[in-house]
Subunit: 122 residues, 2 copies
């Protein structure tokens, strides 16, 4: 699971479009349940959460993890969510992120687009 | 400053290396002063801030902006900071981000590397 040869984090950038399950675009408590579940499954430790609801709709959620962070910005008027996860874990493949991406697309009822996964080498 | 033709945010990803002004790697109040100044200069509205100090050293800072977010993770043992800024402003060029990047490199006494600036089209 962890590679020792090089120190880098991995950052996944998702522009999640054409979301059909629109309650996730406006109800941040529903999104928090989903994120908590993802963090639990992949053993990310959530240290702090902050949220802000915008008028007339949409919200931002930031999770401060012991492994780094997750950010979410929703744009209900465009059925779009900007989702990022960055962790400093030494993953040797993109498997965990690919799983998270597939799960999000499924639950949100969104269009599938290839995720952008960036190595952040120190 | 704003383009009307397409709706997209801009996300700047910086892996800031070889930092010489090491106090910024361990003292998050000093970094907050710097971020507050950047937000003031570029008229980003800070809605919430969260921070976490890790043992033995290093910290995470998350700024929730009305324009989206800034995240910072410091790794003092590697003289490295992972810095991100994502805003949903309709910038027609990278000028503002290039200015922020140049300023950070200067103040932190870091190695200059080209920033990664990603358009996040909706």
């Amino acid at each position: 699971m962890f590679a020792d040869t090089e120190f880098s984090g991995k950052h996944m950038i998702l522009d999640i479009k054409e979301i059909k399950n629109k309650e996730f675009l406006i109800d941040f408590s529903k999104m928090m349940e989903l994120l908590d579940q993802i963090c639990d499954t992949h053993q990310f430790t959530v240290l702090q959460k902050v949220s802000h609801k915008f008028e007339p709709a949409g919200y931002t959620l930031l999770y401060l993890l012991s492994e780094s962070h997750i950010s979410i910005h929703t744009f209900p008027e465009r059925d779009y969510i900007a989702f990022d996860i960055y962790t400093c874990r030494q993953y040797s493949s993109n498997r965990v992120y690919d799983e998270i991406h597939a799960y999000l697309v499924d639950i949100l009822g969104a269009k599938y687009e290839s995720p952008r996964i960036i190595d952040r080498v120190f």
